[in-house]
């Protein structure tokens, strides 16, 4: 669908003459304590085009976008809007100069209506100076009609699904009628249907001569909608090319600066004894009758759609929620796991799905982030931590996991997503787990760090660790797993061996 759209627009749209860019950013430098986020990058956006900004996590894409949207101020460099030099002091400043941003994190107020959220700060007023709600809702309906969004403007935002909230964010950004729209991973939380809808909106905006800066990790999307592609790496500008001159492999090579020879380094290792034996585990109203065995050295995948119950199974095994039925055996011994502590003591580890919400201690150093789950094993007298021993162990892991950080004392917030994830994996390896549960281990992580994490998972399996990998990414499930359980609506609907693994087979089991 999108390919068609692109052809139409690029043939009907007048190409920008040289020098008439909607937006130019040049020589942009930005540093944070301990990190050079941007070391002199540029971006030139032509009217009526989608300009994709590509790069691994930590490449500096989001930082540049925040500078262009007025959230950060650059240390050096200049920004021109339609050829005119501007200094953007705030997001409001940027909006007034015609630059709107759709945020990766949703910024809506939950207890107010959709309409109020969209026009927040610029509500139409009646003669008495109160908000004119009728006019507010009318304008919203008009906007939604134009964008073909089927939502009630009077609905409260708290009742909306994540996907619909994202659509409201998009409508809000469009409502400013800006020339430049920045979209930072707009499709990360929406379904296929809404992606198509979004792409239709984008095509429409392009036809009006607007420019769109688009950040995504999804390769397919890029080649569907982008006209130009700029590549950043480690805060440096690499190149800008028309999308038609690139393909997936060339783009990845540009992004990582090297050829990715083997993305999934899955090795066949001899399977050892059964480590984890789960028998008809249930949690009332969430999932039921989940049974499986897991051997040392084995990588067992959990596939399924969002909400199929995979994360909940993992969290229940790990003792975060009580099971309503079923038994768990570790190394043949029945275990009662009622808390994460008991799970850790039984040899389980869980890398949670949402790094920021339930993994990282953002304000604490890397060291504290890594050691926290293993402290009971490193205690001397009076509850004192044997700090030198722990620090040495963490340092060893930091090196073997190649966590890029100036030191273990760096606040973990300053690390890139991939390095944060590696540090968290380090946290769990320090507990010497028999079973390592990885929930979406590569979500929001760049290609290079992904490959490293896959390699690590293979090495751990080779060392005899039993691994459960929950993932929504077909490629990694198929590439990494010895065996896959597919879940749908709280039930295991099938089991696939490595030689039976295909996208079709998984999808077939994952849907009704």
């Amino acid at each position: 669908m999108s390919a068609v759209l692109k052809d139409q627009t690029s043939s009907t749209m007048p190409r920008a003459a040289a020098g008439t860019y909607l937006l130019e950013a040049e020589g942009i430098m930005k540093g944070f304590p301990g990190v050079i986020a941007l070391a002199g990058v540029q971006l030139k956006l032509r009217p009526g085009t989608v300009h994709a900004l590509m790069g691994e996590n930590g490449a500096g894409k989001s930082t540049l976008m925040k500078i262009i949207a007025g959230i950060y101020q650059p240390d050096e460099g200049q920004i021109r809007v339609k050829g005119e030099r501007v200094v953007l002091h705030s997001p409001l400043d940027a909006l007034q100069k015609g630059i709107a941003m759709i945020h990766q994190e949703l910024n809506l107020v939950p207890f107010t209506t959709i309409a109020e959220n969209i026009w927040i700060g610029r509500e139409p007023l009646n003669k008495l100076g109160f908000v004119d709600h009728a006019e507010l809702f009318r304008r919203t309906r008009e906007l939604f009609d134009r964008l073909h969004i089927d939502l009630d403007p009077e609905e409260q935002v708290q009742h909306l699904s994540i996907a619909n909230r994202q659509m409201v964010e998009i409508a809000k950004a469009v409502s400013y009628d800006s020339d430049v729209l920045i979209m930072d991973e707009p499709t990360s939380a929406i379904t296929e249907k809404e992606v198509e809808h979004l792409f239709a909106i984008i095509a429409d905006l392009k036809a009006q001569g607007k420019g769109i800066v688009y950040i995504t990790h999804k390769m397919v999307e890029v080649f569907n909608i982008a006209d130009d592609i700029s590549v950043f790496r480690d805060g440096h500008y690499i190149t800008t090319k028309p999308a038609s001159e690139l393909d997936r492999d060339k783009l990845i090579t540009l992004m990582v600066g090297r050829e990715l020879t083997q993305m999934f380094p899955k090795t066949t290792v001899p399977l050892r004894d059964v480590v984890l034996d789960v028998r008809s585990l249930s949690r009332q109203g969430v999932f039921s009758g989940v049974s499986f065995q897991l051997r040392g050295g084995e990588i067992l995948g959990f596939a399924g759609l969002m909400g199929a119950g995979r994360t909940e199974v993992a969290e229940t095994i790990y003792g975060m929620y009580p099971a309503s039925g079923g038994e768990i055996y570790v190394n043949g011994k029945r275990v009662e796991i009622k808390s994460p502590r008991q799970a850790i003591d039984a040899g389980l580890a869980l890398l949670t799905e949402d790094r920021k919400a339930s993994g990282l201690f953002l304000v604490l150093p890397v060291l504290e982030n890594m050691e926290i789950a293993s402290l009971p094993g490193f205690l001397g007298r009076l509850g004192f931590v044997r700090q030198r021993t722990v620090s040495e162990e963490c340092e060893k892991l930091r090196q073997s996991l190649r966590v890029k950080t100036p030191s273990l004392y760096q606040i973990i917030e300053n690390l890139s997503g991939g390095n944060q994830q590696k540090a968290l994996i380090g946290r769990w390896l320090l507990t010497k787990p028999k079973v390592l549960i990885l929930d979406e281990p590569t979500r929001g992580i760049d290609v290079g760090a992904k490959a490293e994490i896959y390699k690590l998972i293979s090495e751990l399996a080779a060392d005899g660790v039993a691994i459960i990998m929950i993932s929504s990414e077909m490629a990694e499930i198929i590439g990494m797993c010895d065996r896959v359980l597919v879940m749908h609506d709280g039930h295991v609907t099938g089991e696939l061996k490595r030689d039976e693994l295909t996208q079709e087979a998984i999808l077939h089991l994952a849907s009704d």
Binding site: E76, S339, P340, A373
Partner: protein
Amino acid sequence: MSTVVTNPKALVAKARRLPPELSILFVLLGIAVIFEVLGWIFNGQSFLFNSQRLVIMILQVSVIGLLAIGVTQVIITTGIDLSSGSVLALSAMVAASLAQSADVARPVFEGLGGLPVFIPVVAGLLVGTVCGLINGSLIAATGIPPFIATLGMMVTARGLAQYYTHGKPISQLSDSYTAIGAGAMPVMIFLMMAVVFHIALRYTKYGKYTYAIGGNMTAARVSGIDVKRHLITVYTIAGALSGLAGVVASARAASGQSGMGLSYELDAIAAAVIGGVSLAGGVGRITGTVIGALILGMMTSGFTFLGIDAYIQQIVKGVIIVVAVIADTYRSKRKI
């Protein structure tokens, strides 16, 4: 924000900043120098080189400092303790009532005079500990915000302190009890507690768990920390420190009064915040809090020394607290 960076390496080097406590120490020294200069100009004498004044200043800081050590730990877990001043009063009343000399008319426990000194001390500590335990249990078991739980305790404990003797002060305490508040004893107790909890926070499992809970409660739970139990521990420790402060305060005043420690909880929180303890949790050290308490104490002492109106002292103190929080906000913003 808009510093020009020419050499990327210089920026990385800048990241290895001095600990925030050091900058607070400079603020303390700066204030001292200002008072010293003003002292010579207006009073014709030194502010700093007067041992009597310094002793009084540190003595005054000790009681609030004890509360601040407790509330620091609570704030690190993203909590708050509004009850410390009232718990101080209740502990002081109970301890004082058991510390009276043998032959004195007694408002409560008639005939229980001349008890060995450890009984009132233990009773005072116990009252504080129980109040802290109730705070922590309420927060952990019901999930109500710490602000509300400790606000309830603040009002309740103050009421109990007044009800205990129907507002009558308890005086004529035994010499062995008042010895706890005599001379440099309060300062010694305060500094000892500061050292103990500084070490506990930095080098023990207790401390690491406290920071982890403040950093991210969910992640702390996933990492195997019994968050509820640990929160109860932290609030109980804070309560025990309030109890200790009650003992010290009543011993120093040689009496128990239900109005003791009024609004001390706010001074304690202010000391922690000025000392760089972040209300967002996970950040802060006892050293910072101690310096923060000294800053507050020095302001009071310096203004009195210069003969500035007590009301104006209040106004300036309020401004300083807000400025400290602004500085803290600015500091954490730059860290993004």
